[in-house]
């Protein structure tokens, strides 16, 4: 898949993974696994980018004698998901146009 397109999609995927409740790295990877494979280093980069864009906040929580980082979505993050839903309508239209061209040939 086109790298730019995939990057944008993965950002929204990670936001969706923490939308309903705070989550942590491994849980995010597990939640996404049935839909899309995500490597640790890719996830790290995405989380950093989203944190910089203030779409999520990070906090360390004591868990079983060690610290675990939890990620919480912000208003800006929720807005990004909404934007994505709207963008998706456009993408569906583009997809229909592309496949229609195929049929005519």
């Amino acid at each position: 898949m086109d790298i730019q397109l995939k990057r944008g999609l993965l950002d929204v995927c990670v936001l969706a993974a923490i939308k309903n409740e705070d989550s942590y790295g491994y849980q995010i990877i597990k939640d996404m696994k049935p839909y899309v494979e995500l490597s640790e280093s890719t996830l790290y980069t995405i989380l950093k980018r989203l944190e910089l864009a203030q779409m999520l906040t990070v906090r360390s929580v004591e868990h079983g004698g060690r610290l675990r980082k939890y990620y919480r979505i912000t208003q800006a993050g929720l807005r990004r998901i909404e934007e994505f839903r709207e963008e998706w309508q456009e993408i569906v239209l583009i997809y229909q146009f592309v496949t229609k061209e195929d049929r005519n040939e």
């Binding site: 942590y24 790295g25 491994y26 849980q27 490597s39 640790e40 280093s41 790290y44 980069t45 079983g64 060690r66 610290l67 675990r68 980082k69």
Partner: protein, 200 residues
Amino acid sequence: MNKQEFLTRLRLGLAGLPQEEIAERVSFYHEMIDDRVEDGLTEEEAVAEIGPVEAVIRQIVAETPLPRLVREKVKPKRQLRAWEIVLLVLGSPIWLALGIAAAAVLFSVYVVIWALIAAFWAVELALAVSGVFCVGAGIVLLCQGDGTRGLLGIAAGLVLAGLAIFGFFGCKALTKGAVRLTKTIALWIKSLFLRKEKEQ
């Protein structure tokens, strides 16, 4: 490989990045391994799931912009003494010139690579244009009744066009190769900054 080994090798491989970033990356992988172990995997299985540590390092270095590595490299580890600053200033005609020369050499390598690619595409264009022209000229000659030369023109045009089609794939492959080569060179330059850091 167990957890400690993985994390140590990761830390060594990332030397050259800012200290805070190394610590953050390492603790990220630390947590990832611990969470897998909590999930029922052994340490070795958890590390294996994350993948070869070399691949992880390579991806991180490729993602880190070169200026960041350079900045970390040239950042003094301690306050410079007065005489060191004097030497730096006095020596600037030498080290500045050397630095510029090194940058110029690297730049010229890029220029040579891409000039070569441009030359190949120019040949490709010339083949295509002359092919079309020859066919056109051949048709004109045929219409004027000059059969032999007309046919010769068309034949030559078709040969040229054929070469152009062949050449197109060659040029495309070469361009792809050049992109890969320039990427490799960029990675190599980055690795220079990392390796030197490790030896210290």
